[in-house]
């Protein structure tokens, strides 16, 4: 019996064309567009500094430092640069630790919740509560129990970043087709086999979406945590706050930009990781993130 792939060739070519278009698209959507976006952003920033602040709001222009001043004062001077980079290192450490805990705990919770509707229903309210709780209101409690240092920062990080991981993982685990479940039912697959060979792989695209969102939030969590829990090492949030108190605006913006860059970096890392793992087979993963 011989079968030629003739009937197939058309759609195969179409897939390859698409892939080629995608590769070509990187020139525009991957490089040119972001550069234009960045230029617009910097342009608006200058506009605020040189014109809008005074003309529209009647406020002094130093409140929003000009971008080149930020670069000169923050990054080209050795002392603030050292200070900020060290802070950034600490914040990164807290953010990634918190994110790691969120990932392990969040995925575990989602897997438990995926086992039965009653489990799902029992856990949901508390997760939404964790999402909605005003951190500021429970700061004294956290501080009293866990101290005003490292552990409390990490806890804030986890509270802020765990929700998207649980919700996306759970959504993903429950997204496997009924007909795909049938395949496993047909061969009497155990709960564990079903989880490992069907539900988790099916959930991967959603899981990576959750990781990406949580990664951004974990940086926010780390910086916010530093603002409240100031004992111990000086993260970028503390450094930034000290500049602000001393009205060193260029340095404040310098630190702000760095902490944003950290958020963008972890966000993009998980986008890249997701694409590397899932992109080969998933229909709608885009390279950009």
């Amino acid at each position: 019996m011989s079968v030629q792939g003739i009937a197939v060739a058309g759609s195969d070519d179409a897939a390859q064309d698409l892939a080629a278009q995608h590769r070509k698209g990187i020139g525009w959507s991957g490089i040119v567009a972001p550069i234009i976006g960045f230029a617009v952003f910097v342009g608006l920033w200058y506009l605020m500094h040189y014109w809008a602040l005074e003309a529209l709001w009647d406020k002094p222009s130093f409140l929003i430092t000009a971008p080149h001043r930020v670069v000169e004062d923050s990054y080209l001077e050795a002392i603030p640069r050292e200070q900020m980079l060290r802070g950034l290192g600490w914040t990164t450490f807290v953010a990634l630790t918190g994110l790691g805990i969120s990932i392990v705990l969040g995925m575990f919770l989602a897997i438990v919740m995926a086992q039965a509707t009653w489990l799902e229903r029992s856990f949901w309210p508390y997760l939404i509560a964790a999402q909605a709780v005003p951190i500021l209101a429970i700061v004294p409690i956290i501080g009293t129990i866990f101290g005003y240092g490292f552990s409390s920062r990490i806890l804030v990080c986890v509270i802020i970043s765990i929700f998207p991981i649980v919700s996306n993982t759970l959504f993903g685990l429950l997204s496997a087709d009924r007909s795909q479940h049938d395949l496993f039912t047909l061969h009497d697959a155990s709960r564990r086999t079903r989880l490992v060979k069907l539900q988790l792989p099916a959930a991967l695209p959603a899981i990576f979406t959750g990781f990406r969102i949580a990664a951004g939030l974990s940086v926010i969590g780390a910086v916010v945590g530093e603002l409240f829990f100031r004992r111990g090492s000086k993260g970028i949030g503390i450094v930034m706050d000290q500049y602000r108190q001393r009205t060193q605006y260029p340095l404040t913006y310098g630190a702000l930009v760095l902490s944003s860059l950290l958020g963008i970096a972890v966000f993009m890392f998980f986008g890249w990781l997701g694409h590397a793992i899932v992109g080969r087979w998933h229909e709608s993963t885009r390279k950009s993130s």
């Binding site: 019996m1 197939v8 058309g10 759609s11 061969h187 086999t193 792989p201 229909e283």
Partner: protein
Amino acid sequence: MSDVSTPPSGESLREQIEAARDPKPRNMVLVFNGVSMTFPDGTHALDTTDFAVNSGEFVTVVGPSGCGKSTLLRIASGLTPPTTGNVVVDRSSLGYVFQDATLLQWRTVRRNVELFAELEGIPKAERTRRAAESIDLVGLTGSENKYPKQLSGGMRMRASLARSLVLEPNVFLFDEPFGAVDEITRERLNDELISLFQRLGFGALFITHSISEAIFLSTRVLVMSARPGRLVASFDVPFAYPRPPELRFDPAFAELAGQVSHALRGAHA
């Protein structure tokens, strides 16, 4: 194993004698004993049904949409337990090809084809060998490392077929497998399915709403009425295998198609 419509003991004795004489024993690989199905919401999907599929027999059920044909297969496979009656089938060597290819999109063709063997606990070396064989049988050699999204509809159905072939099934269930592919691909897949059937000699229960496809493939065509599904007529198809594509334009083919069509319309009325 026995069919309820005939005296059980006599049938099985005759079977044994025949099996002893016949160089190609016609043992039943799938038996429906008084099976009926009423869903919890009260939908009466399947009226009491008795029939059997022998090995080396290709039985096709034709019927209008929504008459419970798919329910018949779900019951045959054990996915849905029937309300009354029982089904006799060896589930460990059961092939099942669904309406959609239902491939796991994160697995390559090779790994998809290995899935059932994996779930049945067939050792890795044996699994790999059988998967390569099945892939070759359906003509997908060279595409082993492609992902489902890179395959055409026809190739996906072939992969889905190969996934069941790995189990070397005695009985094969097909749930309108070629409904979603174009006419030309469908005819070619029919040819390929027949040659597989001839080579491997499994018993097949095939569901379709195409009369022409039913006759072209089968040794026997069963006609099912509209809901609640009931088998209302049975036609033996006399044409010898292999069946050339031109058979579809043979007067005898057309006459049989007319009879099946008539029975179908009768079932509707």
